[in-house]
Subunit: 363 residues, 2 copies
């Protein structure tokens, strides 16, 4: 409590869960203590469920391992990846909060150019609570930020913006490169602090990274499915990309916004590029067809909820992507299972208090 | 010559013209001397042609006043605005270089966060000489910059990018606000240096400001028409906006890129918001219809040159925007005249050496 005078005011303390997928003790939380301690954590333990994950004292958390996931979802647990951080999306599903922040356990507090610790969560919340501007580009970046505004020539009818569904944060130190780029540039570090938040325009896809990501569950939660990756699957490291493509098509359709830029976290350790290449190589081929598919995907006017959009998208995935590989048929089915499971755990009344409460509420 | 050791190497010295519209002595060039002196200037004198504009010693320039424009273009001079900085586009037309940089005479050298003078022209040239990435968003901004690259999930087939046609720079100090925003926020200054260059995605329009702008004449020159503004026209301060909308539709159609961000210049003086409001107010209404028009504009496959695209666009302007105001019929006709004049001055052979050479080559 020594740093009381600098203690940040925890915004949305009772409306946001922090979701962390992990296979190890969560010592990294020590560095985040001043920022995360007021919040509730949902820890999704990947891999061997018999392993005990240590969480530093003082954090309020619930922890789910594979046994918990299987028990809670039953046969529908098949839609949750195993041995891949894609399992984190189970945490999105069991949360009962309006907002989610998810972070990897190799991500630490970064410093801004003046040497101050960056409160990443606070910036994400600011991003989510202010509107997005996907319909026209503002050259001075986020027009709602203090000291900024819409520039000359920005239509006044668009200045109210649209609700923000996603806030995508960035990484100093180890950039989020694919295996080929890691192999070619093993020493490249991201040292550039770009002091900007911007809306990704409507109709434009982006590579959404799950390392440092926040979103509004009520607006977009059911589309934040991280797919089938890892154990038993032909592909890995495309979990967040998959979610990002789906999310962007659906936010565009529903008139919601996606922001990227601040906040930065400090990404401490590059993952093994050889291991990554093995996980990624099919994705590197496949994305050449998947991305045009998503770029051209349109949803019908009848799809007005995220769930409806997602089910419609799953049908298009099955039809248009299955010719690439039978994996996409399985994935399309898993997308449907995910929505069924989501709705089961997130119906307005009873489900909230029954099934989900069976998680290992460790504290 | 005292600063010889810091003297920048002038990139593209013989391939770039600097176009400056002005009504006053060009003392502002003193501050730009280290950066601009190696280049050729094209000064477009607005207003009273009998006034003598003083240019500091040592600059290599040609100057055109209204009499010159009338003499060179004859009846086609009607497409060049008078008493409005839109007249600058005459300079684009008479240039014989591949690249243009245009800057306002109230713009000075800005400093980067480490206190060094920003060589705006050098940054623009770097922007123009490196590719753009309009088809997919790179979250670490310009992937070609040193220390950056494409992030995980960026399709490899898109990593070569497309040729860059336009580099749109920004402004520290006085932001480029419309009159209403100027009136509401008279004291707002832009103090934030965002260390980024990014490609404006395909299909997204932006408010292009002519204060600090560079482009590739060969790739997009004929679309850089600044419209009919000022004297005798119902509107002002939409010259660069008009050009930006047309340019973006055409670059998207032709597979070219538009970048925005660095470099910054120091914009010294806010123009009078009351005067601006008078010039702008029709545009503020009209842009609510004009922007959707441009957002939905598509060009036919047969239009493969900038000129063809521009003529096709002029027809759509006449058809779709004339119902707003008869002004747009006049503007659509002027767009055609502009292309005719451009082609007259820019035919491969004789025109180059004849008409344009009649300008007041003042030095």
């Amino acid at each position: 409590m020594a740093e009381a005078s600098h203690k940040p005011i925890p915004l949305l303390k009772d409306e946001l869960d922090i979701v962390i997928p992990t296979i190890r003790n969560l010592d990294f939380l020590e560095m985040w203590r001043p920022f995360f301690e007021p919040y509730h954590l949902i820890i999704v333990q990947d891999g061997d469920p018999s392993k005990v994950i240590k969480v530093p004292e003082g954090f309020d958390y619930e922890l789910y391992n594979r046994n918990d996931i299987n028990r809670i979802l039953g046969p529908k647990a098949s839609c949750i990846s195993f041995k891949d951080s894609a399992c984190r999306c189970f945490g999105y599903m069991v949360s009962k909060k309006k907002y989610i922040y998810t972070i990897d356990d190799d991500c630490f507090v970064a410093k801004d150019p003046s040497g101050h610790d960056i409160n990443a969560l606070e910036q994400h919340i600011k991003n989510l609570l202010s509107a997005s501007t996907p319909h026209f580009f503002n050259t001075l970046y986020d027009p709602y930020r203090e000291g900024a505004d819409f520039v000359r020539g920005y239509p006044f009818s668009l200045r109210e913006g649209v609700p923000t569904a996603v806030s995508h944060g960035l990484w100093l130190n180890i950039p989020d490169y694919d295996a080929p780029t890691q192999l070619v540039k093993p020493r490249e570090r991201n040292t550039r602090y770009v002091d900007a938040v911007l809306t990704i325009p409507k109709g434009t896809l982006f590579p959404m990274c799950g390392m440092n990501l926040a979103f509004d569950r009520e607006l977009i939660g059911p589309a934040m499915y991280f797919g089938l990756m890892g154990d038993g699957q032909p592909i890995g490291r495309y979990d967040d990309m998959w979610a990002g493509w789906c999310v962007k098509v659906i936010t565009d359709h529903l008139g919601l916004g996606v922001k990227t830029g601040l906040p930065y976290i400090w990404h401490s350790k590059a993952s093994n590029p050889f291991v990554n290449l093995k996980k990624e190589y099919k994705g590197i081929f496949w994305q050449e067809e998947i991305i045009p598919f998503f770029q051209n995907a349109t949803l019908s006017k009848d799809s007005t909820s995220v769930q409806q959009c997602y089910i419609e998208l799953s049908k298009q995935v099955k039809e248009k992507l299955s010719p690439i590989d039978p994996y996409f048929t399985k994935l399309a089915d898993a997308m449907v299972t995910w929505i069924e499971a989501w709705d089961e755990l997130n119906t307005p009344s009873e489900a909230k208090s029954s099934k989900a409460a069976n998680g290992t509420a460790a504290k």
